[in-house]
Symmetry: C2
């Protein structure tokens, strides 16, 4: 694991906290959906021990991501002497990969979806994937941002996520990182529709140093501060009136993030910017 005081170390510790909630026994064969650069995969592989294995899939192009690309990050993990041999990365769409696994009669001990549902291009695709997992995994372990927090200093993160998702909802071919803003209850509804039963759920409050809130807010305020508003300017709605009104709501959401960040910098808010809570659920 990376040193605890680096961002990589904090990210790894965050994933380890979520994994603890999933209670997956060492030695399990696990399917990870939406592994991205492998932040969760590495922690999983370490946790599963020498007799465990992770099939980690993500449809994103291997040249996606900066400063390290997906392909570079994954190659580095596979070459890790301690746990690299317990991981197999697959650049495949989940439903496509699962069809193959079912043909081969593979049933995983658990399917893990950790901070990946918001990246799905639509809730319909989430539902299809959760349905396809029914025959391929005994348990379903999901973790996603909860849109709530006991800390006031997490409000910019929550509002930034809502603003970005509100904009992207209008852009059918969006490639941004929040395309399906699903709340915990929306996720539970989809999982139940797919045939899963909730066994256990909870929330994790991330450590202060976790940088996701900072990244999300910076992405929102980048591009001359109202990039997300401009991004919606050509695409939103059926009419000029609808577009103009949605853009005002978007602009106000961005204004709120900007103002709360100013309160944080000027010390008017309690403590530095924090990440919102993560909700997790185990389904059977």
């Amino acid at each position: 694991m990376a040193p605890a005081n680096t961002q990589a170390g904090i990210q790894a510790a965050h994933r380890a906290n979520l994994l603890k909630a999933f209670s997956i026994p060492p030695g399990s064969r696990v399917l990870e959906i939406g592994c991205g650069q492998g932040d969760c995969t590495a922690v999983l592989a370490e946790h599963l021990g020498p007799t465990g294995f992770v099939d980690a899939i993500d449809p994103a192009p291997l040249d996606y991501g900066a400063p390290q690309t997906l392909g570079e990050a994954q190659a580095e993990l596979i070459s890790n002497p301690q746990f690299g041999s317990r991981i197999s990365f697959h650049q495949r769409a989940p439903e496509d990969f699962l069809a193959g696994a079912q043909q081969q009669g593979i049933v995983y001990s658990a399917a893990v979806l950790c901070h990946c549902l918001w990246y799905f291009s639509s809730p319909t695709l989430v539902l299809g994937t959760l349905k396809a997992l029914r025959g391929s995994a005994k348990r379903l372990c999901i973790a996603e941002w909860s849109l709530s927090s006991p800390h006031q200093a997490a409000q910019p993160h929550i509002m930034a996520a809502i603003a970005r998702a509100t904009c992207e909802a209008h852009i059918p071919d969006s490639d941004q990182n929040i395309r399906s803003l699903l709340s915990p209850s929306a996720i539970k509804n989809l999982a139940m529709d797919a045939g899963w039963s909730l066994a256990e759920e909870g929330k994790v409050t991330p450590a202060e140093g976790l940088a996701d809130a900072k990244w999300e807010v910076e992405m929102l305020l980048a591009d001359n501060e109202y990039g997300v508003v401009r991004r919606g300017q050509e695409r939103v709605g059926a009419s000029d009136v609808e577009r103009a009104k949605v853009l005002v709501v978007l602009e106000s959401m961005v204004g709120v993030v900007k103002e709360s960040m100013e309160n944080i910098s000027s010390g008017q808010s309690a403590g530095p910017l924090r990440c919102m809570d993560v909700w997790w659920g185990n389904f059977e």
Copy 2:
């Protein structure tokens, strides 16, 4: 003023706090835009004293509102022996009324817009009104919900307002009470575009008992909990895909309000539901 421990008393005390921020001298002639049932008008008339006067205008039908209609509430205030004679109510659109006032050469000491901007049917209409006020009032005193709060227990109010506004933005002929969700910075930008300069601004944290948060959240969760989502089902966007995605975001916003209200009822959140802060600005 109504007894301090009743909702009418708490509403009056809230308006009195905002009026204090406006620093309008007794004896002034004031124009109040969007007076509604006259909650602010009454406090203004009392404050202005025997030599002051309020022209209070609102375009809403006099049979609007429950349990008391606008007309009934206004009639009651006019008949108040202490300050009724200092008020004149006008059922007129602001721009229309202002055109008449300018013809007569009336210049008000101050124009007050207290919790009315979100009711405007569009930000364009807000801009037009603020421009029309340039020649008719020496000062502009605005108060509106700020979309922020130092209290965690105000988050359901903030999120409920955003959810309702996001839905109404798609409904051109909406008659709902949040049609222009303007943040403090959006309001300041409109006022500056209209030729006004900000002289002073601040925020007021409402008292715990102010019921507006409860009303807003109840309205959102009423109608089988997802009324605001169903309301958008026939109207949102240019395509089925756009509509479906916006509705998921809306559903998640409602889910967050519902969940945070459950945390409040179960005692998991600090204290009872509270109203968000009110931002106020004085312009010259």
